[in-house]
Symmetry: C3
Subunit: 461 residues, 3 copies
């Protein structure tokens, strides 16, 4: 039937007449929105409905019939009804035999049912060809035509030809179909639109917690301490000075936390002598969110860069500078250039710039389209070699900048260590252990283990 209709249609010049009729079961919101969009793209649409009277909500050019008559008019039937009503389709099994049924349903929570809605439908109607599609697009997006977001429609199904037919409709609506394989993928596709950055949850909570801690730590030492003991009101430090102290600390710690799980994994593998045993759960989870941790670290580093660059524009800073110059001028003397100071100032700036530059490079490489264009060897080179180089440069930047604070007694207000000292603990630990791990006597067995060798083969039995 398809073949015939397309042959006949091919003679007609008008595009909108060439599309094959599509049937939609269900006149709910999504069914209506999809119908509007399909009619707009040139598809004749027929609705299958219990009552054929609620025609005013339905697009004007669409026909409304009973379920059985509507189904007979089309090769593709879009099931725009909820899973709990699927049972009413079983009496229609004969009419639906051989037809392509498009399951577009979503659930209210992740893994709500043991099997996906599409698989459930396929079990109810074994004679039909079930294809999962369209569930990742919202009715509002279809209706308003403002599909700025992802135009990708995940499609899966066991029948290749049925899948092709559905993918053609998807393309005709101006969307991009993405073949996700057999109907087994339906569960994953149904879970997809319910997620809200699942991989970012832990890194975000960790960052917010640490940021809050360091912010109040700085607030106590830089504003409250100064106010109490030196009677200076530096409350405006809250706007720039303290954020610019917290941001680099966060960037450095989070960057170190990206490389820490790799260190743990190496130690565990060395200790166990095999790679064929699962890591503890927390380590697995940690390793999976390394990219997110790294990107948050990059965000903090970028804020630190901009906060630093606006320094000369701050009223406080130009006041302090003027004061220093005027004091010199009034004392009628010019301080000579302090070569050591020039070296320290220039080298921590240069180290910071190079470290940030590598950091941005890592960020660019983690863009999906870029990382898809590098092979595994190249990705490892960038993320591991350049990543450690960035960590070394950033740690050195902090050490050179904050070095003087370590020993100076004035750094220990209220006997609390300066924030620089806190920020250096994790990165220095990571770098020291990594340095040990690349010694040949440690690296050689580790490499063997990662190539499949086992120290104690019995262990894994």
């Amino acid at each position: 039937m398809n073949k015939n209709s397309s042959n006949i249609m091919a003679l007609a010049p008008n595009t909108s007449n060439k599309r094959e009729t599509v049937c939609i079961f269900g006149t709910g919101d999504f069914g209506r929105a999809l119908g509007h969009k399909m009619i707009h793209s040139g598809y004749p649409v027929v609705y299958g409905s219990r009552s054929t009277q609620i025609s005013n909500l339905i697009p004007k050019d669409a026909e409304v019939l009973g379920h059985a008559e509507a189904a007979q008019k089309a090769a593709i039937i879009i099931i725009a009804i909820q899973r709990q009503h699927y049972n009413f389709l079983t009496p229609l099994a004969e009419v639906l035999r051989g037809k392509v049924l498009v399951d577009i349903s979503n659930n209210l929570k992740l893994n709500q049912y043991p099997e996906s809605n599409a698989e459930h439908l396929a079990q109810l109607l074994p004679g039909s060809k079930v294809v999962k599609a369209f569930n990742t697009v919202s009715a509002w997006a279809l209706q308003s035509g403002t599909l700025d977001a992802s135009r990708q429609v995940f499609v899966c199904g066991d029948d290749v030809e049925a899948k092709q037919m559905v993918m053609n409709i998807v393309r005709a609506l101006g969307l991009t179909p993405l073949d996700k394989g057999s109907l087994l993928a339906a569960q994953e596709i149904e879970n997809y639109p319910l997620q809200l950055f699942p991989m970012w949850k832990f890194p975000m909570i960790l960052s917010l917690g640490l940021t809050a801690f360091f912010f109040f730590y700085c607030l106590a030492l830089d504003v409250i301490y100064t106010y109490i003991y030196e009677n200076n009101n530096f409350s405006f430090f809250i706007a720039i000075t303290i954020p610019n102290r917290v941001c680099p600390v966060m960037a450095l710690i989070l960057l170190a936390l990206v490389y820490l799980p790799g260190i743990f994994a190496a130690i565990i593998q060395l200790y166990r002598g095999t790679k064929y045993r699962r890591f503890p759960d927390w380590l697995d989870k940690w390793m999976l969110c390394r990219k997110q941790l790294g990107l948050i670290a990059l965000a903090f580093a970028s804020l630190h860069v901009v906060f630093t660059l606006v320094t000369p524009m701050r009223a406080f800073v130009s006041w302090r500078t003027s004061k220093g110059i005027i004091a010199q001028a009034l004392n009628n003397k010019t301080e000579p250039l302090n070569n050591t100071n020039a070296w320290i100032s220039d080298s921590y700036l240069a180290l910071g710039i190079l470290g940030y530059f590598l950091f941005v490079l890592l960020g660019i490489t983690s863009l999906p389209s870029v990382s898809n264009n590098v092979n595994w060897r190249e990705f490892r080179f960038v993320q591991s070699k350049l990543g450690y180089l960035a960590l070394i440069l950033c740690t050195a930047h902090t050490l050179v900048y904050g070095g003087k604070w370590f020993l100076s007694p004035s750094a220990y207000k209220w006997y609390l260590p300066n924030i620089y000292i806190l920020s250096l603990i994790v990165p220095c630990a990571v770098l020291v252990v990594k340095f040990v791990l690349i010694f040949p006597c440690v690296d050689k067995p580790l490499t063997q283990i990662r190539q499949g060798w086992e120290r104690n083969p019995k262990y894994s039995e």
Copy 2:
């Protein structure tokens, strides 16, 4: 025949001999360029031509025969001739029966013919399998081998197997085929290479017009007014000072214009009580170019950031700073730190930095590979929630910075308001109306309407 030849070929180790012969009809520029490239990729090429004598332009390793003999030698025939000459193919219908015809033609203007060239070809030769491909690649790009640009070749056709054969050739030439579905997509594919940033046209014109207006507005107030009334020659303001006044104004206004159509849409829907009626045409178009408006706003914001950061390096600024300090030194007094000033300066800088940071985040999310990796819910969260937050921060940044200008009489040169005041009208209006729209008494009916509810169902009949 295909099957046999590939079985025989499989025994030969030389890659270049394994490819099946491809026939090219037409010895024009693109036919020749494609032939060169195919021979280079190991395909035997035979040209079909009216005259078999113009062999010097054709790649040396290619055979040149009459159309019928050439067609018989290959299963795939590339039609490198112009649409107006397609009629000469009808006598060859018998020879071409069952063959794959690849239509590579382009038109000179959008929608030149009622039906696409490929569909026209399919109607002329109903026994052949027509596939549209290669029209998005230029002859020069093929010839010079410098395919830095898109390596994507859009392919469409009604016969799945024919499409696969063409896609394999595309891949063998080092290009990436992209299946666009059935031959109905040919029109769109033929229009594609004729476009020059169609979505950017309106936003670009709007931006250029507004920029010119604000530039001359500033020129009049800051340079000409100063020159006439204060006799100061500040003509060098044209290079940095005025651009750095225009850029933030443009960024703020364009960012507000991104969110304004959403506000209009909500009001229209509330007024009509339904979402099933089309928006006015201007609103539809405006909503479709919001991404482009946002990206231009980001470009202006980025220029503003860099223009601001170079401030301390400007000769004029260091002269002004010196003058201030020297004046203080000569008067033998040091001004105390003005705490209010420090607060204002630090907070507008901090607000600007945070706003710009969110703005860049929005920009990154709109990269195609990133937006393809987020689902609808995540995209809405970023573009709507974070977008409004960015607008609020940027508006606050401008308010804090320009606040003092509102009331100062010196701001009204020639009775014209300062540019800051003009820049704040649209963003403040958007934020106020949005604030009203999120009130529960307004938000609830709006949400219902967007879920498909209708206040006055008759209306849509």
Copy 3:
């Protein structure tokens, strides 16, 4: 058999039972890692091995059988053995007839064998359907589950259905299959994971060489010369001053080198009067790495921008500024604003900012996901028009900044020209020749040649 098992399985709700059995030949590292991953994704796995006793290394839930028995249990057999042992499969030809054999092997160097491993396998077992897949994924990545990098698995094969089956497995493991066409693509796929940024090698070596040269050139003139003749120790210039002199020079020269090969190509084509002859090899290679040259130029330009922006924060600079102001204050006079200086300072800053802005735009357009979304006409517009504009702006920026150095005799320390003069040679040459090439009398024949016209048709015979 497949059909039956999937029908039976469809009734069982547990996902992990629905997958069809996969057989893996070979119990080496990759075979084991893939087995672990497949079992984890719900596939029953059976290993084919010479000895069925080394069971402790193999995943616990997998069966281990002899090769023939194992092969009979599955429709898909993964060949996880090395190419040199493929011969032992020939006796199994009868058992493997009609089965899908997945070749996952890699070689140790590029183009190690005349034909790819997968094609070799297909020739040994002509009755089986060979599919190439998984060779781009590392065992370590599969095992550790940390597939941060490319999740793309290149798949190729002559049998479409077999390819679909393998692609479904790829998707089930959470990876993205990418159809690369027929088995002829296997060679390319096998070479892929051995590469380490092959296109970047020449641009990187060139950049490092030039950078080293300019660094020592500046070191000699700015630090050593000053130390010898003026007895000033400016060794700290190594950290920021000299890098910030080398970076812009490198950026400008590399950007000009992006456009130089196009100039050469035009001249060669004009001279030869045809586009149908190959360019010299060095020019071809140069043209293919223009994107990389441009991105390295952008990296240098970005470093230059950041190095410049930190200037006011340097101890040396603030010391120099203070000295100047104090000298004025002590002399009791204020220098008036030098309008020419203000113009020069502001205009080279503005030119640099606009040039860098366009440069960044070019960089963003070269991101794979962005360049895939523009057509050829748009890409040419951005890369050619905007690219030349960026080159013009950056050259002008350097000319305005370094203009005063040209004639000043103090610029010729040790009779060597200042680095600015060196940096301007290539860009100015490119711009001058390009200016000549766009004259109508030159542009017209060039356009004709590029459209396929030949001055001397005999030439190409």
